[in-house]
């Protein structure tokens, strides 16, 4: 007689509590394919863990954002935020779509130039610009967003030596009614510091004040904060015209649009609470259109959106290493994805799902990474199906900041693969190995021999 199919024994405590008032089920969907390629095939070909980026999703999200703004305001220009994801292939997709580059260091500036972005289509932000960086930026006619007075004085000193007019904007911080208030970058609006900076720039013969910039914060869930910011920038545009008869060419509202990831401690998932591109676009463009800026001199609106454009296009695939019971009986799952590769797990409760069909029972589970470090926790508590060693998992929305803030720690960083619009996969950053990690190290002569 043929033996029966075995099912794992399960015992669950019945908890008679108050049901979730939102009726959200603990049902976890699984993901078997990314852009029609099997997750198992990707891991078999490129290893585990593995970052996967969907080119199709990047382009679709970008076009959705552009369309939200272009249908409301005549002059729009996006600039790709390099720090969010500066893998060359990713940047090139945005540049093919028409996005300029927004960089915050000499390294990123060089990357943008090497990616073929002309210097005059690079926005140079950030508090750390060395004299060498500023010389490079002025020579390439980049738009320099001045962060502090010391930087302003450096530019005033450097520009005549280079023999080119420095094209500048100032970064302005302000109260937009939200918390936390970012006041460490740029010049303050309310205390008049921004106006002082403008008054120092305008008489300078070697500086051309092209724009005004603000970046009010990150993961902003209140579109109205952008209305306040756009309103305050517009008031400065009008004031500059009145005093100097000078038209500001562009206003840069920075980034900060939320992605659909869920912040730790949030009551509802990001998919339910995150505003749409239309919400942000309406908040910003309505303020500009209703401002006192002359309608035939409306400045170009620059946007440096990073997170909201790329997060959804990134996936992190991994494999289950072990199941364990914690001291209190809770299940824990150890996977080969650690916080070294998933830096954003420090502030997001990332959506993690099994790849393929799994056992229908789920348990309250803690998901750990592979590092020999207590902080290596991917999810503290999640209703998760019971997986076995070797099963695969997919973490969604990891496109922003992970491939730039990742750490080479304990393990090598993995391959990054991009799936093109025709469903073909390409390695866009190779995994590290012993040779790449040792390339930059030097051992002094007297330490070459060891005696054990």
């Amino acid at each position: 007689m043929e033996k029966l199919r075995f099912e794992r024994p399960v015992i669950t405590r019945i908890n008679a509590g108050v049901p979730d008032k939102f009726g959200r089920g603990a049902n976890i969907q699984s993901i078997s394919t990314i852009d029609d390629i099997e997750v198992s095939e990707l891991i078999a070909n490129y290893g585990s863990p593995l970052f996967v980026i969907s080119e199709k999703k990047i382009r679709a999200t970008y076009q959705e954002a552009v369309s939200a703004f272009k249908t409301r305001y005549p002059k729009i220009q996006f600039a790709w935020s390099y720090k969010t994801n500066y893998l060359n292939a990713v940047c090139k997709v945005y540049h093919q779509e028409g996005s300029w580059a927004e960089v915050v260091s000499g390294f990123e500036f060089e990357k943008a130039l090497a990616n073929g972005v002309p210097g005059n289509k690079i926005l140079f932000n950030g508090p750390d610009k060395s004299d060498e960086d500023l010389t490079m930026a002025i020579s390439h006619e980049a738009l320099i967003h001045i962060d502090h007075f010391d930087e302003l004085y450096s530019i005033i000193a450097l520009a005549p030596k280079i023999g080119k007019k420095a094209k500048v904007a100032i970064r302005i911080n302000m109260d937009t009614g939200i918390y936390p208030r970012w006041d460490r970058f740029g010049f303050n609006y309310e205390n008049g510091e921004a106006w002082t900076a403008i008054n120092k720039i305008m008489p300078e013969p070697d500086l051309d004040l092209m724009g005004l910039h603000t970046h009010i914060g990150t993961y902003i869930l209140t579109p109205n904060a952008y209305t306040v910011a756009a309103d305050k920038l517009a008031s400065l545009v009008v004031r500059i015209k009145q005093k100097y008869d000078h038209y500001i060419k562009y206003l840069d509202l920075g980034g900060g649009f939320a992605s659909k990831n869920t912040l730790k401690g949030a009551y509802l998932p990001g998919t339910d609470t995150c505003p749409s591109f239309d919400d942000y676009a309406e908040a910003i463009t309505a303020a500009l259109i209703n401002s006192d800026i002359q309608h035939d001199h409306m400045p170009t609106l620059f946007l440096e959106t990073g997170r909201a454009l790329i997060d959804d296009a990134g996936y992190l695939l991994g494999t289950v290493l072990a199941n364990k019971r914690l001291a209190d009986g809770r299940r824990s799952l150890v996977i080969d994805i650690g916080v070294n590769n998933l830096f954003t797990s420090f502030w997001y409760d990332h959506q993690i799902v099994p790849a393929g069909i799994v056992h229908p029972d789920s348990e309250d589970t803690t998901i750990y990474g592979p590092l020999c470090m207590n902080i290596d926790v991917i999810r503290n508590a999640i209703q998760f199906p019971v997986l076995e060693k070797g099963n695969q998992v997919v973490i969604k929305r990891v496109g922003a900041y992970n491939m730039t803030q990742w750490l080479q720690f304990i393990t090598y960083r993995p391959n990054v693969v991009m799936i093109d619009e025709n469903g073909k996969s390409h390695v866009i950053r190779e995994n590290e190995n012993h040779a790449t990690m040792n390339e930059l190290e030097r051992v002094p002569e007297h330490l070459k021999e060891i005696y054990l």
């Binding site: 043929e2 033996k3 029966l4 199919r5 075995f6 099912e7 794992r8 024994p9 399960v10 015992i11 669950t12 405590r13 019945i14 199941n323 019971r325 209190d328 009986g329 029972d361």
Partner: protein, 81 residues
Amino acid sequence: MKLKKNIAISESGFLFDPSSGDSFNLNKTGQQIVKMLSEGKSENAIIRSILEEFKVEKHTLQRYLDDFYSMLRQFNLIENE
């Protein structure tokens, strides 16, 4: 390993522990194992019985049983060993 004596188990897999007032659900396999435990069968006897009846490798079964027994202990359903 012995199941606590006063535990009540229904045929549908509902388990009640009168000492704590807790109720539990068991799936079919869980029910079968708890029944064998309540009949006083040893862990080895339980393994033999399951291997005869079901298509499962011994080491896989052992892993599942270890986990299942740890849950029974966690829920205080086992006599002090």
